[in-house]
Amino acid sequence: MSTIQIVLVVTFVVSAFVGYKIIDRVPSLLHTPLMSGMNAFSGVTILGCLAATAATGTLGEPGVNWPARIFGYIAIILAMINVAGGFGVTDRMLRMFHGEEHDGGKK
């Protein structure tokens, strides 16, 4: 394995550990929004989709692998639905939570 690959694997392990620790005690009140927030973050695969789609060739030059690029578009669209939809619904849900003191203000 090259340096980057070792770095990548270590990054994976460390971030998994940190992720595990960080939500150790979440009130169940927030389970749904937290889950849909996590869901939005899992759309981070968009970064991979962008890089991989761009690597199918350069627009306007010969040698673009069009079938692959079209699949790339699909992947980008799906990933962005995941990201935008995820953050969107999470925001909507979280804005519904409010304590007694704000009760009169909303609605």
Binding site: A16, I22, L34, M35, N39, T56, N65, V89, F97
Partner: protein
């Protein structure tokens, strides 16, 4: 812990100048530093989201760091000005936003399920493209790209099935085929075998490679289907949560394949925290994750219990009159009550009775009755589902109390009102060995002085276990069958 990530990134860049393939060497160091900062922002966002007061801001911070991550990636790979990528992103963003505005709170579980599936599919395609694009021929890239296809594809099909079940496109009951276990394991093993076939020179180019990619995706997808169709009702929140974790893992593996530390880190965080959330839920249901993965729900109990209650239906016309008599008692209970706990369940969601629940609670509160809502961790079809529905009708979150916190209060409670909940209050969970709910911690409504149960019918809940509360003394338990919305309206008009 946080500096550890930066350290990792920094030591990495000190050793080699060309760390990330396909990236301008002069951009690599700024890219890695920025990635480290973004990962910290993401972690900060997630930790803010686990606290009620900071959650909205945490979510905004999360979406901002995601936008920055996209910008950073476009800049680092010199593809900022590639127009078609922007068009595709724009389409996806618009569709996602429209979807997020249209969806109702009731549909939230299937929405999250579906979005998981999209994320998984995107990772699968990213993995496939990495294999197809030239220049990724080392064993590490080949295997991780194959794994991204494997995990991505099974996340996709599993999530689509789960979402379809929740939307009631498919049956909600667990579907168990002949030799289900065998086929599940076989498809998993075959899927993994195809991943390693990418290492063979025979599949390193041309049609053979493309065929192998398709075979890998299809077999992994079949594994996802076998996995998901077996999961029924009560276990659905756990399945959704697990698939959520998997979609993070899929992204992370795709990051390994294309050598993108930022993607690896964020995917890893999502995968691990999703797994923890899954475990928290398993604990709440006293189930082992392994049991759920292996589909150990005792379905025979479900059919048995259902027929028992069916027989009883036919045998009770004589008791009808007694029913009438008892159905008025509960009004007195409520009139005399000092303390009431409301227990919402999926039935409330189905009949869209949140508004009526709020009105009844307001009315009782106006009579100086203390009201609380007892929320079981797995009430509904996804974790925290009830909280979201009640928050939607402006019930303050400090009235929504968690199980461990509220359970001791039932003893001092005059009336427990159960609205469309069954399994989570079923005392059989303590006694009925060999049923799916045995050992699951429940809300101890039986400790309350009186209980009002509003359920659609007297059929057992999702887990299919008869609820002894239905046969309890009429001086203690009142049963109001039918649509929860109507039952609530009736109580309200009778009380006023």
């Amino acid at each position: 812990m946080l500096p550890a990530i930066i350290n990792v990134t920094l030591t990495g860049q000190n050793r080699a100048t060309d760390i990330i393939p396909n990236m301008d060497p002069s951009k690599q160091i700024p890219y890695l530093i920025m990635s480290g900062i973004l990962v910290i922002l993401v972690l900060l966002g997630i930790s803010m989201m686990s606290k009620v007061r900071l959650a909205v801001k945490g979510n905004l911070l999360g979406s901002l760091s995601m936008a920055l991550a996209i910008g950073l990636t476009l800049w680092a790979f010199d593809i900022f000005s590639v127009v078609d990528l922007w068009i595709a992103m724009l389409i996806g963003t618009l569709l996602g936003l429209v979807l997020s505005r249209k969806v109702t709170m009731l549909q939230m579980p299937q929405m999250v399920g579906l979005l998981n599936g999209f994320g998984g599919a995107a990772s699968m395609i990213a993995g496939a493209l990495t294999l197809i694009n030239p220049g990724n021929n080392d064993p590490f890239s080949l295997v991780t790209a194959g794994l991204a296809i494997f995990v991505g594809s099974l996340t996709f099909t599993g999530s689509v099935i789960a979402a379809g079940k929740l939307q009631q496109i498919f049956t909600q009951k667990p579907v168990i085929l002949k030799n289900h276990q065998f086929w599940t394991v076989l498809s998993a093993v075959l899927g993994l075998v195809t991943v390693f076939l990418f290492l063979l020179p025979a599949y390193s180019s041309g049609i053979a490679k493309i065929v192998l990619i398709l075979v890998c995706a299809v077999i992994s997808g079949i594994f996802g289907i076998f996995f998901a169709i077996r999961i029924g009702g009560a276990d659905m929140p756990i399945a959704i949560s697990l698939l959520n974790s998997l979609s993070g893992v899929a992204g992370s593996i795709a990051g390994l394949a294309i050598s993108d530390p930022l993607l690896v880190a964020v995917g890893g965080v999502v995968g691990a925290s999703g797994l923890l959330l899954t475990q928290i839920m398993c604990r709440a249901m006293n189930r082992k994750l392994v049991d759920i993965l292996l589909g150990k729900t005792s379905t025979p109990a479900a059919t048995k219990a259902a027929t028992v209650s069916g027989d009883e239906d036919a045998a009770t016309p004589a008791e009808e009159e007694a029913d009438e008599e008892r159905s008025d008692n509960y009004l007195d209970w409520l009139r005399e009550a000092k303390r009431v706990i409301i227990v919402p369940g999926y039935g409330m969601a189905l009949s869209q009775a949140q508004e009526q629940v709020k009105q009844l609670a307001d009315m009782l509160e106006a009579k100086d009755i203390e009201i609380d809502f007892a929320i079981h961790p797995v009430a509904g079809r996804m974790p925290g589902h009830m909280n979201v529905l009640l928050a939607e009708v402006d019930i303050p979150y400090d009235k929504l109390r968690e199980m461990e916190e509220v359970n001791d209060d039932f003893v001092q409670t005059d009336v427990a009102i159960i609205i469309g909940a069954n399994d989570v209050v079923n005392p059989a969970a303590n006694t009925a060995v060999d049923t799916p709910i045995y050992g699951m911690p429940i809300l101890k409504v039986e400790d309350a002085k009186h209980i009002i149960i509003m359920n659609f019918d007297d059929k057992p809940g999702y887990a299919g276990v008869d609820n002894p509360l239905y046969k309890a003394k009429k001086s203690k338990v009142a049963l109001l069958f039918g649509d929860a919305k109507e039952s609530l309206e009736k109580i309200r008009s009778d009380l006023s």
